[in-house]
Amino acid sequence: MSLRPVIVGGGSAGMAAAIELAEQGVDCLLFDEASRPGGVVYRGPLRAGVDLGYLGARYSKALQTLHEDFAANAEHIDLRLNHRVVGGDTERLMVLDADEQLHEIDYSHLLLSAGCHERNVPFPGWTLPGVMLLGGLQLQIKSGAVKPLGSTLIAGTGPLLPLVACQLHAAGAKVAGVYEACAFNRIAKESLALLNKPQLFLDGLSMLAYMKLNGIAMHYGWGLVSASGEGELREVSLAPYGQDWKADMSRVRREPVDTLAVGYGFIPRTQLSQQLGLTHGFSDDGYLRAVCNVWQQSSQAHIHLAGDMGGIRGGEAAMLTGRIAAVSILQQRGVLDANQAIERRERYLGKLAAITRFRAGVERYTQRGAAQIELPQADTVICRCEHVTRSDIDLALEQGVQDMASLKMRTRVSMGDCQGRMCVGYCSDRLRASTGRADVGWLRPRFPIDPIPFSAFQHLATEA
């Protein structure tokens, strides 16, 4: 076959896949919209001369190893940075290059490893400058090498909260406390599942020890009520959460802070997988994701999925699924025979099993409480691009809207620049709660999945 395998997304999953292909002597074409490979976990600092000590020794080592492995195989990897895939079908991709020109790229074997974005949970004041998503703030410390303004309060749920607290502190920023919405006993109940990855579990414990040592308070069973400030964030209100995360408004605490980082987990990017017409399903957390089999093959056997796109399991699992996808492509191309492919796959699957059990434990304790959707007030903006408020959504639901497509038509949610990436989680939660159904649809992507200038078509037109 003449066409090289094409990989979309050079994060943990895409890089590992490219390395696996290269190790078997197979060249690939790898697109990433960022200016450096590595994805959200391993992109590293964007400017030269940054000493990564503040991110921890284990992390710096892992980052270095991945980039060294990747560099060692560079002759086989045609890496196109600053290239954004904006659409496609089952045979070709539409790619916007660094000069904003559009190209059509044919493929025979494709790996989608475009990762995820964060789940946005709206509450009064979430749109104030100074409020950021937790991973986004972490990217500023890791890749931007810049601290947030003033002191930072961290709220949400999951292991990323204490991690970012430690990284912020080590970077010299002030941390005003961590508010984990779930109660401590729920985490304790999962310790057996968490012990499936002893190292990660120990990392968790040493993070808590670091926080204790440095006087960063960890509040379990506490969560956000609102944020406020004139034009910029100045204060955050918090309250104890019940089992279903209902805030106890009789015990609200106000914290003066300049930065608030909110982390409630992730949602896979499905814009491309949907546009390519792949089969999708819903996760327990309610998000849509493309389905794949044990070879990471989607419903189209020549299109593979790896990393967060097939479901959120963290960086280590992303690398393993990337490797498995590459093994499958190698078998499809006749580079490996069936026995060789199965033998390799089983090796990677074995490592994946422990991570999967660990993640299942994390998912159980971070399961979002049903009362979370009651945080926004009537006038709280839900879709910021089109200025749709909670009362607009309430009204649409009262009028009998039962699925995402109708909600979009009725309220304009998702019709703006972000194409609904920031409101889809809330809208889906509300529709599922009001209809009692697990499947209320999801937002359909538009072409292009990212805005492109009109001039981008010039090049295509001259080619045609």
Binding site: S35, N120, L128, L133, S143, V146, D417, C418, R421
Partner: protein, 104 residues
Amino acid sequence: MQTLERVLDIQPLKAADITLQLNGQAVQAAEGETVLSVLNAVGLRRLAQNDHGQPAGAFCGMGVCHCCLVAIDGRPKRRACQTVVRHGMRVETEVNRVVEGAQS
């Protein structure tokens, strides 16, 4: 001209080989950085004014929320978090032609 001071860098810039114009003031930057890192380094957080007149700052930090829209070299609605700095780049915050058009 007064140079804006970068007060929030975790470590000092090794080489500040680039100068940008941020709302008419000079600010130093290093090769590879995004416009957002520079804005964050000087502590400027009100970046955009959206079409509904609401102030917005960077939110997702990874190109998906479209809340960090600034004007770059005269082109409006460019994502600060997705734009790498270049020498002589002009960056303006809180510009919005839709809202300004409505006001005048």
